[in-house]
């Protein structure tokens, strides 16, 4: 038994230390390597967690989408586990975006929330996937729960471009924040900033996979317990 579990455990350990190293490097880059931005000051460094969190939330929900489709196609519990786990982690990252957004916005734009296109779309996305998790919580485990969740997982992701454009066009009627939005990225961004952003993105991606692995393991343990409980029931 020790031999069998050591291989996945080992890769788990490698991922863990890799993630720690990645995060340490990213933190170094964010706080020591990259110079302070001229117009916004030190607060601008929040961008280096805010943006990678947003990308990872999006990536996590993409995984939910793909896993949901694969589940409906193959009817394999494995895909359902991936969908559930990725959705939960996606909501965590999405929440980080919604928390760091206002904290960044307040000193820069003077208001906690400005209904800007990206933050609003993120809020809607958060609501969709929280609803996804609530749905899973309201149905007994089994084929029905997995199927319903998969449908919502697919419908939710396909909405993203529609939400993006509708919110964007809606917002162009309202005055833009006066200071240049720091979301005009990639345009005239210093190389050190780009490197720091990429390092942070890499670290967060590793973190995503680490958390995903942990969450998947929890579901698999739950499944094992349910399976054993059933065995116990029948053996009596």
């Amino acid at each position: 038994m020790n031999e069998e579990t050591s291989a996945p455990e080992e890769s788990g350990h490698v991922l863990f230390w890799l993630t720690c190293a990645g995060l340490a490097t990213a933190l170094w880059a964010i706080f020591l390597f990259v110079p302070t931005e001229k117009t916004e000051g030190a607060v601008q460094r929040i961008m280096y967690f805010h943006i990678p969190s947003a990308w990872l939330a999006f990536f996590a929900f993409f995984i939910v989408f793909v896993s949901s489709i694969l589940f409906l196609w193959k009817k394999d519990r494995e895909w359902d586990i991936y969908a559930q786990s990725s959705a939960e982690i996606g909501v965590v990252f999405c929440s980080l975006v919604l928390i760091t957004g206002p904290i960044w916005a307040k000193p820069i734009w003077g208001a906690w929330w400005v209904w800007d296109a990206r933050l609003t779309s993120t809020l809607i996305l958060w609501l969709i996937y929280v609803a996804y998790l609530m749905l899973r919580g309201h149905v007994e485990s089994g084929s029905a729960r997995a199927r319903y969740a998969a449908v919502v997982g697919i419908a939710g992701f396909l909405d993203i471009p529609l939400i993006h454009f509708s919110v964007l066009w809606w917002r162009t009627f309202h005055p833009k924040p006066k200071i240049i939005s720091a979301e005009g990225l990639g345009t005239g961004m210093d190389t050190t900033m780009l490197v720091t952003l990429l390092l942070s993105l890499g670290a967060f991606t590793l973190l995503y996979f680490l958390l995903l692995g942990q969450r998947i393991e929890i579901e698999k343990t739950k499944d094992e317990i349910d399976h054993l409980k059933k065995e116990r029931l029948y053996s009596h």
């Binding site: 749905l135 697919i154 396909l158």
Partner: protein
């Protein structure tokens, strides 16, 4: 193909027949919509805000809220009388079942909207006739999107004990593009703009409609498996 259409019409006809007998669904939806509009009239000071901007928003909130009631109740009626199981036992194509349900939901909602429009005109002093054709088209494509996704989600949520709370929680975030688009388009249409000036919104709403009809067709089998 003929048989498929027959199946769809059978479902629609059944829903109308039930409704004509009981008249519950429609009256509930209509009264609720009127109440929603009234609450807004009382809580929003219409002398300050621009009616042309706020009016369409209130109208669509009334449509969406009462539409949700309609979706919930239409499914509930099936469940209550064991009708759903009966339907599932028939060798009917699941997508025909979906289309039947969707079209009957659409029909009820459109009829209700048609009755609400004169009230809207009266309460908010809006001129509906300036751009009537465009207005009706806008309301149609918005309502189709709502019914397309709403029917899928209500057939899903209908299996839950907590369906009354779960349907809105699932539906409303997803329906945001329709909400924003329909209100924008209605507002512009009421101000006299021709549809050609809002092609992006029309395109977006039509895309929503097509995407969610597509998703529903492809996933309804998995929802109605039992």
């Amino acid at each position: 193909m003929r048989q498929y259409l027959n199946q769809v019409t059978a479902i629609i006809w059944k829903d109308f027949a039930v409704e004509l007998k009981t008249r519950e669904l429609f009256s509930t939806m209509f009264v609720f919509a009127v109440l929603v509009i009234l609450i807004f009239v009382f809580t929003v000071d219409l002398s300050i805000v621009n009616v042309n901007e706020v009016g369409p928003g209130i109208l669509w909130v009334a449509f969406l809220f009462s539409g949700t009631i309609g979706l919930n109740r239409s499914f509930m009626l099936e469940k209550e009388n064991g009708c759903l199981q009966g339907l599932m036992l028939t060798p009917i194509d699941r997508t025909a079942l979906y289309f039947g349900k969707m079209l009957s939901n659409l029909a009820f909602l459109l009829i209700m909207e048609a009755l609400l429009l004169p009230l809207f005109m009266v309460f908010f002093n809006v001129d509906l006739f300036r751009n009537l054709g465009s207005l009706l088209l806008v309301i149609l494509i918005g309502t189709v999107g709502f019914c397309a996704l709403g029917t899928l989600l209500s057939s899903l949520a209908g299996h839950l004990k907590t369906r009354d709370i779960m349907l809105p929680i699932l539906l409303y975030p997803l329906i945001v593009p329709i909400a924003i688009g329909a209100v924008r388009m209605t507002s512009k249409v009421l101000m006299g703009e021709p549809l050609s000036e809002m092609w992006n919104w029309v395109g977006l709403t039509l895309s929503f409609d097509i995407i969610y009809i597509g998703v529903s067709i492809m996933t309804i089998d998995h929802v109605l498996e039992e």
